[in-house]
Amino acid sequence: MATTTKHAIGNWDTFHNNGPFPTKVLYKTSLEGKGNMPSLIDRYNDAATEIQRLLKDALDKQEGFRAYGSAWSMNHVAHQKDNMHFNAEMNIKKAILDDEMHTASTFKRENLFFVQCGNVIKEIHKFVFDHGKSLKATGASNGQTIAGCISTGVHGSALGVGAVQDWVVGLNLIIGPNPEDIVYLERHTEPALNEVFAGRIKARVIRNDGLFNAALVGLGSFGFIHGAVIETEDRFLLKRYVKKINKDLAVELSRTLDFANSGFTVPGETDVNGKGNTAFHYKVFINPYVNDPEYVVEAIYKKPYVAEYPDPLPRIKTAIYRDLIILFTKIAEKYKNSIPKLIKVLEKSVLPAVDLEATGTLAEIFWDAPYQGPAYAIAVGVDHTNSGKALELLTRLAKDEGPIPGIYAMRFVKQSRATLAFTQFPITCMLEIDGLIWKAKKNKIISMEQFCKRTIEVLQANNIPFTIHWGKTADWSFPGLVQYMYGDKATTWKEYRSALLGEKGAKLFSNKFLEDTGLNEFIVNTSPELVQSIA
């Protein structure tokens, strides 16, 4: 039997200390040992039984329940005041068998894998690599669990791929304590696996594009994500370049993403006519407090896999003194005018080394995150054609109403089909501000809460359509925010959620984040067709 330990923790915090948040109980479920239960599927189903027991317990007490993994979200999206469930030890993974493929599937069997919720990206990298495959794209690091990535829309800067949820083709949810509460969702237009597979995980199948797209970026509120079917591709390498280029050129390329006709080219990354190849990944770093005519940019190009290449990771990795970072934060809080100078000092530790070139797998290029301390990150998504304008507005905000201890960056992600994906523009520019958590004191430094609020107000005042990363710092209680960002899509999401979970289930998987954003609204009398398979 899978075993669950119960801890009365009192408070729970995110990995980057964006809390603490009052919490009654933390559960941790461990799988049955392989020696006692050798079958992967038996252990998977055994874990499902255990989760259903915990869900029943929470329902009986009329309490909430929420799963989380690595706690990397920098707000309260992963938090639930009654019952939190740590699922990172639930990490079964398997290749798909021939008899599990849907007859109408257009996916290659060897590209599909089934992974349990608590697998972190790093272990999935290794597992699929050992099968000759690679994930398509990830975030900038590898410590998030797959369920956390999907739920909040974790992204990198893969122009042609998208975010993590965009290579998920099947979802296994546990929505309650009864046998029919284990469901397996797919798109009806892109079936992947068949009833044999569903039978093995004791799930009822619903093939419905609308439901699947709504459940994908489900904010942990669409039931307990127990497993996901992911699509991979053949192994490949990435070649990473870091350059300093004219800032107008960097911003213009952000606006057009037209690498072929840009003045920015990397020797060796051009076609036969000398025109620039389109990068796999493009990122621009901006220190808003310096008038440097150049920005640091990172361009990564996809290459065929070869076994022999120099290790892209340094043999020795150093880290900045944590106490030094805390000291810098204290100085910034007390003397706000010191912030630009402090950022300049830290710039070398934060930004990648210029003229760096490295080749490696996706897992190597986006390796372990070095910083484990308190941090905030604000990330707004805008259409890439608006990236220059949004950057100008938000850097001006930092200069005029700040300064704030943070550095800006822009990444670019292909559109997602998930209903509430913040990567909703044809190519979304994720404009990010990453930095150290600060507290406004008597020196009139703007508070983080106020800066977040002003970010929304400035973009609204300038009529720039935007979204906000679900896992990052924001004024989530800003009136009408979600409706403003997503319009009818927010209503659609709530309808599918209500139809799938029912009123009790919707309450069970709700939390304060959902209440703050208004997404907890239960919509009565939804059409039963929303949760039925479409032929």
Partner: protein, 119 residues
């Protein structure tokens, strides 16, 4: 005169003490080896604000006594996954001193390790 000697003594003791502290501090350091492709065993209750945050840490802090004819030893530790994610060995001035004055027969051992996550 007596007072002056006393001050000198105090000063000397203070200097010696400071020297020992400084020497001890600079003689303490850690070496950490990390498994490049490994995933650490998680621990949601570990909120330390350092490298070990969220990881299940095992600590060995002991002194090994060797007999006259014994020159070497090894510690046998068990990771459920069968592998180590990281091992950190701490060298202290006290440990080096103890080994020196006992001709290597007493070895102070301070190790932190994290197992690989079970697959």
């Amino acid at each position: 005169m007596t007072i002056r000697i006393c001050k000198r003594k105090n000063l000397s003791v203070l200097l010696l003490f400071s020297f020992i502290i400084l020497f001890s501090l600079s003689s303490c350091y850690s070496v950490r080896i990390v498994n490049k492709d490994g995933t650490p065993e998680p621990d949601p209750l570990n909120n330390s604000g350092n490298f070990y945050k969220g990881k299940k840490v095992h600590v060995i802090d002991t002194t090994i006594s060797l007999k006259l004819h014994e020159g070497d030893f090894y510690l046998i530790e068990k990771c459920p996954s069968g592998g180590f994610y990281s091992v950190e060995y701490r060298v202290t001035f006290g440990g080096v001193l103890l080994s020196a004055i006992t001709f290597g027969k007493k070895r102070k051992v301070k190790i932190k390790y994290v197992c690989l996550k079970e697959q």
